[in-house]
């Protein structure tokens, strides 16, 4: 039996269904339970107790089977509809098939044209359940969502590579998979970096404005990512996607190319991970909204790195001993950091040793217990006082550096908190050609 607050019962029921249970005993208490005084929590428990006894001894499931049980994922159902283009878009939105932005109609003809962009068969299952709804993704569905997003057939290997990277479980056994990101109240959203020769071949923006481009390729890929997460994945507000406020990254994911030309360390991010320079690779991560670092003055790499460290130690988004994050470095900031021969490893070590905030300003424990948002250093860290400086993540290896963007002195820190697959997932694109 699950006790849920009234604002989260929809997500609780959705999760029950997606885990395969036709129904579950629920007891609903008025929202909220968190951030209220102890006596109010006790009063809510007292009021709920009779319902808990009743649910434990009298509840019966309302159904014994689930929708879609035994249905085949291929081919996708064809829908006939009469109306204007605007009417069609309204119908898609009403059914939960779009995100409110216009879509290109996924006609059979358009989807078949998209399928010519890959050698893979349309009935191949490429993701056997996108959380939280657990929609099954076939190559045909990727083509369909790609058409809707404005992608073109030559983008199919990229779209399939993105799916491949998104579905991967984190390499880190403690790393969260996709489900947590899609349902949390935290404004998490995907971050996709494309690396390799395909960036220039297909016109993926990697220079000026690459992280928020007026570039049709990046936009189509970003729209595709969120259509995938929200249509087959079902991560839509207000019930499955519980983002308290959210941000535009929840509608169009951030997609950019790695700027290898602007990388003073020469090796691309995938090459650092053992890939070859000629490999085309999707780097997939996800995190909270980025924090911008605006430093036009530092000449010494240490000065710039100190500003970076003090950007990272913002306790709201980063907190202590979390999963680190990715620095999206502008080429000019990267050049400054590398000026005196600093390697990426040197910078990560510096940031790890300096991105710290006092224990006393962190989100507190609740009555001495470590809650989900508390700063709880591991026992091995030793005793702490309010003045003890606490690192934002567990190790220097949890800080990644990728060069993206054009001229200018701006870089972005993407803090990953506790809800992101970390390290990022990497998937090759070429096998999907």
């Amino acid at each position: 039996m699950t006790v849920s607050t009234s604002e989260f019962i929809g997500l609780a029921r959705t999760s029950t269904e997606s885990f395969g249970a036709p129904d579950q005993a629920f007891v609903v208490v008025p929202h909220p339970l968190g951030m209220i005084p102890r006596e109010e929590v006790i009063a809510k428990a007292d009021a709920a107790f009779p319902e808990i006894i009743k649910a434990a001894t009298e509840w019966k499931p309302s159904r014994t089977t689930l929708p879609d049980q035994d249905k085949k994922p291929y081919p996708l159902e064809t829908i006939k509809f009469t109306g204007t283009y605007a009417d069609l878009n309204q119908m898609f939105y009403d059914k939960g098939w779009s995100l409110g932005l216009p879509v290109v109609p996924p006609t059979r003809e358009a989807v078949d044209a998209m399928l010519k962009g890959t050698s893979h068969k349309p009935d191949e299952i490429v993701w056997d359940g996108v959380p939280p709804r657990n929609g099954i993704v076939t190559v045909e569905m990727v083509a369909t969502l790609g058409v809707m997003a404005g992608a073109k057939p030559e983008h199919m290997p990229l779209l399939l590579g993105i799916v491949d990277a998104m579905k991967m479980p984190s390499e880190n056994p403690e790393g969260f998979d996709w489900r947590a990101q899609t349902t949390t109240t935290h404004p998490t959203a995907p971050l996709v970096i494309i690396s390799g020769p395909i960036v220039k071949e297909l016109g993926v923006a990697y220079g000026i404005g690459a992280m928020g481009p007026e570039n049709p390729v990046n936009l189509a890929l970003g729209y595709f990512v969120n259509l995938l997460g929200d249509v087959p994945g079902g991560s839509r507000p207000p019930d499955a996607d519980k983002s308290t406020q959210g941000w535009v990254g929840n509608t169009i994911a951030t997609v950019a190319g790695e700027n290898v030309d602007g990388n003073p360390w020469k090796e691309s991010f995938p090459v650092e991970r053992g890939f070859k320079p000629e490999d085309n690779v999707v780097i997939f991560a996800g995190g909270g909204m980025p924090l911008n670092m605006n430093d036009h003055a530092s000449v010494d790499p240490k000065d710039l790195a100190e500003v970076m460290a003090n950007t990272m130690n913002a306790v709201g988004p980063s907190r202590c001993f979390q999963n680190g994050g990715i620095w999206i470095l502008s080429p000019e900031h990267a050049a400054t950091l590398s000026r005196e021969g600093w390697t990426k490893k040197d910078i990560k070590e510096f940031l790890w040793n300096n991105a710290k905030a006092p224990f006393g300003v962190q989100p507190p424990m609740v009555e001495g217990k470590c809650s989900i948002t508390s700063c709880c250093p591991p026992e091995s860290f030793g005793p702490v006082t309010p003045d003890t400086l606490i690192p934002v993540c567990k190790s220097a290896d949890q800080i990644e550096l990728i060069v993206v963007g054009g001229p200018g002195k701006q870089s972005q820190w993407w803090p990953f908190g506790e809800f992101s697959p970390f390290p990022p997932n990497l998937a090759k694109i070429d096998p999907w050609k």
């Binding site: 989260f8 428990a45 019966k60 035994d70 829908i79 099954i136 569905m141 790393g175 969260f176």
Partner: protein, 158 residues
């Protein structure tokens, strides 16, 4: 004419989208203008026309939601009484959920004869943090099942 302004706005958006987000052409097309066809070039070998019309037309489109993966789960047998039963309490680290469950434990002991309470957040503390992924969740469930509770009451967010 239905929803003329909406048709115009959406038409402009789509035209801009298909044209690679270049500025929309001027003058803007009227809502009743003839259907517009944009051409998509597929590796310079296949051409497909995507129909875009401001007028009513017949559409045949694919349902992009597809079907859900369903792995049926069997529900545990229902209880008719809690007397003499072992009741597990599962906290997920959300603030105050443990206080809520502690109070439920007090009430159960007070009002239900012979009940045995297991607070998994004390007995099996590794079950407390949110599950990182499906494998982690299964491992936690197995830890709980090891204690053979008759029923588990979990507190959710927030």
């Amino acid at each position: 004419m239905r929803k003329p302004l909406y048709v115009l706005v959406v038409g402009l958006l789509l035209a801009s989208f298909l044209a690679g987000c270049s500025p929309a052409p001027a003058p803007a097309p009227a809502a009743t203008s003839a259907p517009v066809k944009e051409t998509v070039v597929v590796k310079e070998t296949v051409q497909v026309s995507v129909p875009v019309s401001a007028a009513e037309q017949e559409w045949e489109v694919l349902n992009p939601a597809g079907v859900k993966k369903v792995t049926p789960m069997e529900l545990a047998p229902r209880l008719t009484s809690l007397e003499g039963k072992t009741i597990g309490l599962k906290w997920n680290q959300k603030p105050n959920g443990n206080i809520f469950l502690d109070r439920i434990a007090e009430l159960l002991v007070e009002k239900v004869p012979g009940v045995k309470i297991i607070k998994f957040y004390e007995v099996e503390p590794t079950t407390v943090p949110q599950s990182a992924n499906a494998t982690d969740a299964k491992n936690k469930a197995q830890l709980i099942a090891k204690h053979k509770p008759d029923i588990v009451i979990g507190s959710q967010c927030d």
